[in-house]
Symmetry: C2
Subunit: 196 residues, 2 copies
DNA sequence: GTGAATTCCAACCCAAACGTTGGAGTTGGA
DNA sequence: TCCAACTCCAACGTTTGGGTTGGAATTCAC
C-alpha cells in the first residue's frame, strides 16, 4: 500500500476535531484520536507536535471557519438581521463540533487566542455591516454596532451553550428547534428595529 | 487537635468547586483538590465517592444556587426586565466559578442533570414572573414567556461564555464591564417593550 | 538497481493520577 | 477505664496516557 501523508494528516485532524469537541482538551486522549483515525499514535507527534499544540492547531483552523461562517454583506433592515440570526442558529445546528470548540476555548480563557488577528478581521467585517446599516438608518442605532452584533450572536448561541438550561426553562412547554428559531428571529428583529 | 468532619467536608467541597470550575472535570485532579484544602486525598473518597460522583455533587449543590440566584418576584415593566438582566450580569461577574460550572455542565451534555427537579422549579418561578407581567400587559407578549426569559439570560451570559469572541468583536472599541452592562440593559428593555 | 530519506507502526518508558490500605490518633459511651 | 467507632494520613498498587524509540516498509533521486 502506498503512503499518503496528506490523507493521513487529514484523517488525524478530522479525528482530533471530533474528539476535542466531544470531550474537551482535558478529556481527550491522543490514543483515541489516533485509533479513531485508524493511524498510529506516533504520527500525531511527528505531524502536529504534542497535545497542546495539536489542540491549538485544531482551534485555529476550525474556529477561523466559525468566524468566517454565515456571510453577511448587506443588512437592509430588521428582517435581514433576523435572517442573519436564524442563519447563525442553523450554522450552530449543522456544526455542533465547532460550537463546542468555541465554548471550550472560552473556558480556557487564554489571554490570546490562536490566530486572533485573522479571526478579529472576520468579526470586524460583521460589525462593519451592522455599522453601515445603522448609518443608513436601516436599523436601530441606540446600541453600538459591536454590541448589537455580539448580542445577536448571543441569542443564537445560548441555546447550544447551555442546552440543559434551555430544557429546564422550557419544561412546561418544551421548545423545538423550530420554535426556538422563530423566537430568536422575533427577538433579533426587535433588537434591530429602529425607533418609530 | 480535635476532629472536625463538617469543616473538613466544607473545605474539600469549596476546594473542589474552585478546581472543577477552573480546570473542568477532565483537567482537575483529586490530588490538587485535597492539597488546596489542606486535607488528605483519601478523605475525598470516603466522603464523596470517586471523582465523577464528586463532580456530580458539586454541580448539584452549586448550580442550584445559580438557578435560585437573582430573585425575581414582580416585573412591572421593561425597566424592571432590564434591571433583572443587569442583576444577572452582575451575578455572573461576582461568581465566575458558578458560571463556568454551568458552561461545563452544558458541554457534558448529560441526558439529565443533577437535581434537575429542583432546578427546574426555580426556573419555573422566573418564567412565571415573565408570564404574569405579560398577562398584565406590562411587557411585550409577542414572545413566549420562557423564550423571553431564556433570551434575557442569554444576553447576560454570553459575555462570560465566550469572552474571546467579545474581545475580538470589540477590538476597535474595547468594551468595559460598564459599557457591556449598559448595552445589555438597553437590549433587554427593547426585548421587553410592549408594541406601541 | 541502490542508497538516502520518508512514512509508518508495535512496543516501550515513565510520570501522573486514580483509588486503596494499614495503622495511628481521637472520641464517646458502657 | 477500656473498647468500638470514627477521623485522618503516609505510603502503596495499578492503570492510564503522554511521549519516544527502533526498525520495517516504501519512495525517490541518481
Amino acid at each position: 500500500m502506498a503512503w499518503n501523508t496528506a490523507e493521513t494528516k487529514r484523517r488525524l485532524k478530522e479525528s482530533a476535531v471530533a474528539e476535542f469537541a466531544a470531550h474537551g482538551p482535558g478529556g481527550t486522549t491522543m490514543e483515541r484520536i489516533a485509533r479513531r483515525a485508524g493511524v498510529n499514535k506516533e504520527r500525531l507527534y511527528t505531524y502536529f507536535g504534542d497535545k497542546s499544540q495539536l489542540f491549538a492547531t485544531v482551534l485555529a483552523d476550525e474556529l477561523n471557519k466559525v468566524a468566517a461562517a454565515v456571510p453577511l454583506e448587506h443588512l437592509d433592515g430588521p428582517e435581514a438581521v433576523a435572517a442573519y440570526a436564524a442563519a447563525v442558529y442553523d450554522y450552530h445546528a449543522e456544526h455542533p463540533e465547532l460550537t463546542r470548540l468555541l465554548l471550550w476555548e472560552g473556558l480556557l480563557d487564554l489571554p490570546e487566542v490562536p490566530d486572533e488577528e485573522t479571526r478579529t478581521d472576520y468579526y470586524r467585517t460583521k460589525v462593519a455591516a451592522f455599522a453601515r446599516a445603522q448609518r443608513a438608518n436601516l436599523i436601530s442605532d441606540d446600541l453600538p454596532a459591536a454590541d448589537l452584533a455580539f448580542l445577536i450572536l448571543a441569542l443564537a448561541g445560548w441555546w447550544y451553550a447551555v442546552p440543559q438550561m434551555a430544557r429546564m426553562m422550557h419544561a412546561d412547554e418544551p421548545a423545538t428547534p423550530d420554535t426556538a428559531r422563530a423566537g430568536l428571529m422575533r427577538a433579533a428583529m426587535k433588537l434591530a428595529a429602529p425607533k418609530a
